[in-house]
Each structure stands twice: as C-alpha cells, then as structure tokens.
C-alpha cells in the first residue's frame, strides 16, 4: 500500500469505486454520469460505467426532485445510493426531498427505516460562476436535524470521507469544492483507509491562535499561517472536514491552549456555521479566551460575476491574515 498523487475529483472517484467493489448495494445516480467524460468538468465518474454498468452508474434526466427522491426511496428499500446534484445551487431544486424526506424518515417513522444515502453537492466560488454556480450552502443542511454534513479540503479528505459517508446509515451531504476538483494531493490506495466523520485534522500546530476552517478556506488558512509565522504569530490550523457532527473536542483543546479563535468560512458570514462555532466557544470556553472570537466570511450579497467584484466578494488569504492580526491588537 502506498500514497499516490491524484486530483480531488479522482480521489472521490476512487473512493466510490472501491466502495462499489466492496458492496454491490452501492450505486450512483445523477446527470451526465455516463457520458464521455463521466462528469461535466472534472471526470468525476470517468470509466465507472464500464466497470459497473448502467444499473449502478445511472445517468439520469435533468430531474433533481426525482434524483434526490429516488435516492431516498432506494435507500429505504435496502440499497446505498450516491446521488450527485452536481452543484449545491442545483441542490436547492431538491431541498424538499432532502430535508422533508431523507432527514425525517427515520425519525417520523419511529426508527422503522434508515436512509443510508450520500448526496454530492459541490460548493464554492469558481471563477466567473456568478450568482447561481458559486454558492456555499452548508449551513442550510447543518441546520437540519437528521443530516450529516462533510466538506473535504484535501484529496485525502475527499477519498476518506466519501468512503465513510457511503458506509454510514445516516443521510450525508457531501460538499466538495468546485475549485478543488483539479487540485492534486497525496491519497492512500489502501481501500481500508477511512476518515472518521466527526474528526477534524490539525493541519498545523500552533500556540498563539486557532483558526478553524473547512473546505478551500482551510487551505487558505494554512497559507495565512505561513505569513503569520514570519510575523511572529504561531497559528494552529484546524480543518474541520466534518461540519455536522463537528469535532468540538479538538477545537476546545486547541482554543484552551491558544486562547484565541478565528473562524474562516467562504460562505455568507451572516447566520453561517462560523456563527455557531463562535457562539459555542463563547458560551463554553469564555474563561480560556484572551480576546473575543472573530469570524471572517462572505458578505451578504449574491456572488458577483465581473472579476473586480468577484475579488471584492471573496475571502482571501490576505483577508484572513488581516483578521487574524486583529486578535492581537487591543481586545
């Protein structure tokens, strides 16, 4: 067993293929899964139709309600579907089936059924994606009892999390970042290497400040840590990986050590997940804090198109650094 370099899209594909080989009840459905490139942009399903056939790699019509609803029905009826809604923006067409059905069935039927499905909904600003192809909606689903939400930052996260997501009996919203599909990373080729849902990774140890983040912002926070280090600030970078449940133990431990917390998110800051983390730490770790918790996130505007406006909208490494330094000025 060894580490192999591959893109995140390929890492998810490998993880899915391994699980499909392991368990004949795992299958995937979504738009464009079996067309020439196995996906519209990043070869997410390339070659899978050849190995698994059209009963398990199901190329669907543009019918988001039914892609999601069928996945719920198929999960209840004894299979483990992976439904791909391609982008979180299109996931909104199927919020009903995800929120009213997938998240509720086990509960409202008194535990008679489980809904073991994964729904892939890619998030994040992708250059020029504008208002309807660049949204990050993770907070919507974290807010929904019954759902699990994960958001990988690295290729290794991407593979380990898709495998764990497929194996859990809960419905999982798997939110990969569109801008990271082609980002390369080191990935284990051991089919038994999984990443536990609910376990964060500490990407860098530090002593002065904790930056909690997820998805692409974890990578930008890591870059920010390099710059901060040259200015004498030692930042600990936590990549949450799993947003619900989230790894409170790791964050509590880190903040108890550093006494400072910044939450960096790409999604709209208002009522985002950073607000929950911030409130939780303020309620439970106030005695350890040297200064109040800061957040950085997107403004509450739709994602603009033109480059200068898009750049204005984005959370960047520079902005993370600037916000991080605020924790060291007057409290």
């Amino acid at each position: 067993m060894s580490m192999i370099t591959m893109t995140q899209a390929a890492a998810v594909r490998e993880g899915l293929a391994e699980e499909m080989r392991r368990d004949p009840l795992v299958w995937a459905l979504g738009e464009d899964l079996s067309t020439a490139h196995g996906g519209t942009s990043a070869d997410q399903y390339l070659g899978l139709i050849d190995e698994f056939g059209d009963k398990r790699i199901v190329n669907t019509p543009i019918s988001e309600n039914t892609i999601m609803g069928a996945a719920v029905g198929a999960a209840v009826a004894g299979t483990r579907p992976v439904a791909d809604l391609r982008m979180a923006d299109f996931g909104m067409c199927a919020v009903d089936e995800l929120v009213n059905q997938a998240a509720k069935i086990r509960y409202m039927f008194g535990g008679q059924a489980r809904v073991p499905l994964v729904v892939r909904q890619a998030i994040g600003v992708r250059k020029g994606g504008a208002a309807q192809h660049s949204q990050s909606t993770e907070a919507w689903y974290i807010h929904t009892p019954g759902l699990v939400v994960v958001a990988p930052a690295t290729a290794s996260d991407a593979k380990g999390l898709i495998k764990s997501a497929i194996r859990t009996d809960d419905p999982v919203v798997y939110m990969e970042h569109k801008d990271l599909w082609l980002a390369e990373g080191q990935v284990s080729d051991n089919p038994n290497d999984l990443i536990d849902i609910g376990k964060a990774s500490i990407m860098r140890q530090g002593s002065d400040l904790t930056i909690v983040s997820w998805s692409k912002m974890a990578l930008l926070s890591l870059q920010a840590a390099d710059q901060l280090k040259s200015e004498g600030i030692s930042a600990e970078i936590i990549n949450l990986r799993s947003l619900w449940p989230w790894d409170k133990d790791t964050i509590y431990k880190s903040v108890s050590k550093t006494g400072r917390l910044l939450v960096a998110q790409e999604s709209v800051q208002v009522a985002g997940f950073g607000a929950e983390i911030s409130a939780d730490i303020s309620e439970n770790l106030n005695h350890s804090l040297k200064t109040y918790v800061r957040r950085i996130g997107a403004p509450r505007t739709p994602v603009p198109y033109s480059e200068p406006m898009e750049n204005e909208y984005r959370v960047t490494t520079t902005r993370i650094i600037k916000k991080a330094k605020e924790l060291f000025s007057a409290p």
């Binding site: 609803g69 719920v72 029905g73 198929a74 999960a75 004894g78 009213n100 008679q112 699990v148």
Partner: protein, 333 residues
C-alpha cells in the same frame, strides 16, 4: 388474474368488503376520537374511497411496497397494518406504528411493506421510483405501488417520476385516486387538458380509467395490470374516479362545497354498492351484518386500547434522529 366466474369469487369480494368496512370503521371512530380531543393533530379521512386501496392491495403481496400520501389510513389497513397500532399512533401513545413520532399523516408499517403516508404531495412518487429501482438492483421479485390524488398531478415531480419510471422500465403501479378536490379547490378548475390518463399516456405509459367506487371493477383491472407489471410489462397507471365524502382534513367545514353534492355522491359510496352485490350473489344479509359488527368492534377495541395505553416518555424526542452527532442534539437540561 381475477376470475369473476369462479365459484369462490363472491368469497373474494366478501374479503374486500371486510377490509373496506374495517377502513370505514377506523375513519369514523378516529373522527370521534378527534372530536373528543384525543388526537394530538388532525386526520385526513378516506371515507368513500375505500374500494381503491382495498382492491389494489388485494392484488399485492406482503413483500410488495406501497407509498401513500397524507390520506393514508386506508392504504395502511389494506396493506395489512395493525389498526390498533395505528390508533395508538393517532393518539400519540406507546405501541403506535411509529412510537408516537409521526401521527396520522406519517402512518407507516415497514413490516408489511407500507413505506409511509406523507405530508408532502408527490414525494411518494419520487421515492417510489427509487424503491422500484432498488428492487431491480437487488433482484427482488416484487413491485411498488404509489397512491396519489388528483391534486398531485399538478406538481412537477409527478412528470419527472412518470418519465423516470418509463426510461428505466421499472416495476411500478401509479394509482391516481381522483376524489375531485385538491384540498378545498375543485381540481377541474385548476387543471388543463383532458385529465390524468392523458397525462400518463403522454409518456407512453399504459393508463386505465376505472370507477373507483366499484370494488369489483378496481379489482379486475388492478389484477390484470399488476400481473402485467410482475411479468416485466413496465410501469402502468390507474386512474380511479371517486369522491371525497369528508373534508380535506378533520377541521374542514367544507364551506366550498355546492349544496347537495356530498349527499348525491353518498348514494354512490362503495361499501353499500358492494353489499348489494354480495347479497345478490349468495352472501346472506346476516353475514354482512356480522362483518360490520365485527369491524366496528375491532376498531372500538383498538380505540379503548389506545386510550388505555401510556404516553411515551418525553425524552424519547431525542431518539432516532441520526447515528452521528448524537452528543450535540442540544437537549434541554
């Protein structure tokens, strides 16, 4: 397939009469319980529509799946759910089909293949095609039946699901129970075109009209098309015309109804029609009366048992949310 000249045919119809009567008794006594303030929610009654669910489910096996809508009591009983457990669910008691988590609108009994009544119209359709896909993938010899109302034929997922069922050639029966009302709106006034059968046929799906208040006619057609689905004939559509004798929901005063409409339709209700036929075909009036008495006794006993049953511990509110993240449900201390 049903052979309506066979010597045991009246006995077959008598069995359906028993089921219809049990459903009617359940709905009437559930209404009494609602009026007495015993039901912690509302109920959607199936009175007048009993023949459809009864005759369709009479042609299904325990291993087949059904998905229902908000008006699901009749479908559940017809598929074999226990009325006492259902009544306990309505009252939110221990021993309810869903342990008191769902109530009337979420009646489900997975042990008999009843995958749930549902509060959102058309979601049974999308989940139904997925359940059928799972049966195919698992190579299980069973079919799925989805019950929808006329109002649901105006939701987008109706079209997605019919298209989906056809392109993947799924073993599924769609039953449209046309009770003429979409909540309190006359469906005709908000629906273009000739109706549900034409809409199904637009997808190339075999579709049939049936008098939904004639249990024998529903049985005859259901038997034929369910056999066809089992033999690989693909999706089929049954449009059963009926009438919703009661309001949309138990609190509905039906102020939107033309005077005399309910009374006129009551003359056509399916249970009396079935009783008349049975009596003409060798079943004694005494047997009909004893069937009625035993159905009402069963449901009265169910209500008594439900009243006597304890309420669940409030802390069970935290059970069965999900496996992951249970440490952080935010329980009240």
């Amino acid at each position: 397939m049903t052979n309506n000249t066979a010597s045991n045919y009246p006995a077959r119809i008598l069995e359906m009469y028993k089921t219809m009567t049990l459903i009617r008794a359940f709905e009437e006594i559930a209404e009494e319980a609602f009026d007495a303030g015993l039901v912690n929610g509302s109920i959607h009654q199936y009175i007048g529509e009993e023949a459809i669910g009864t005759a369709v489910c009479a042609n299904l096996r325990k291993t087949d799946f059904i998905l229902s809508n908000h008006r699901g009591h009749g479908h559940a009983i017809a598929k074999g759910a226990n009325p006492e457990a259902m009544m306990k669910e309505l009252l939110g008691k221990v021993g309810g089909t869903s342990g008191g988590k769902g109530g009337s609108m979420h009646i489900a009994d997975f042990s008999v293949g009843m995958l749930g009544a549902n509060g959102v119209l058309a979601d049974g359709l999308t989940m139904g095609v997925g359940a059928a896909q799972a049966l195919v993938l698992r190579n299980v010899d069973a079919i799925v039946t989805v019950f929808v109302g006329d109002g649901t034929t105006n939701r987008g997922p109706f079209y997605e699901s019919l298209n989906w069922a056809m392109i993947y050639e799924l073993p599924i029966l769609f039953v449209c129970e046309n009770n003429t009302y979409a909540s309190s709106t006359s469906t005709r006034k908000v629906t273009a075109g000739p109706g549900p059968v034409a809409r199904a046929e637009a997808f190339g799906m075999p579709a049939y009209d049936v008098d939904g208040n004639d249990v024998r006619e529903v049985d005859e057609i259901a038997s034929k098309i369910i056999t066809n689905i089992r033999n690989g004939g693909g999706p089929q559509f049954l449009h059963a015309k009926t009438y919703r004798i009661k309001g949309h929901v138990s609190r509905d005063k039906m102020l939107y109804r033309p005077e005399g409409e309910t009374e006129a339709n009551w003359k056509n209700e399916p249970i009396s029609r079935c009783a008349d036929w049975l009596i003409k075909n060798g079943i004694s009036e005494a047997e009909i009366n004893s069937t009625n008495a035993s159905a009402y006794k069963e449901i009265r006993d169910a209500l008594e048992a439900a009243i006597a049953a304890p309420f669940p511990d409030g802390k069970l509110a935290y059970k069965d949310v999900q496996d992951l993240g249970n440490r952080y449900l935010g329980e009240h201390s």
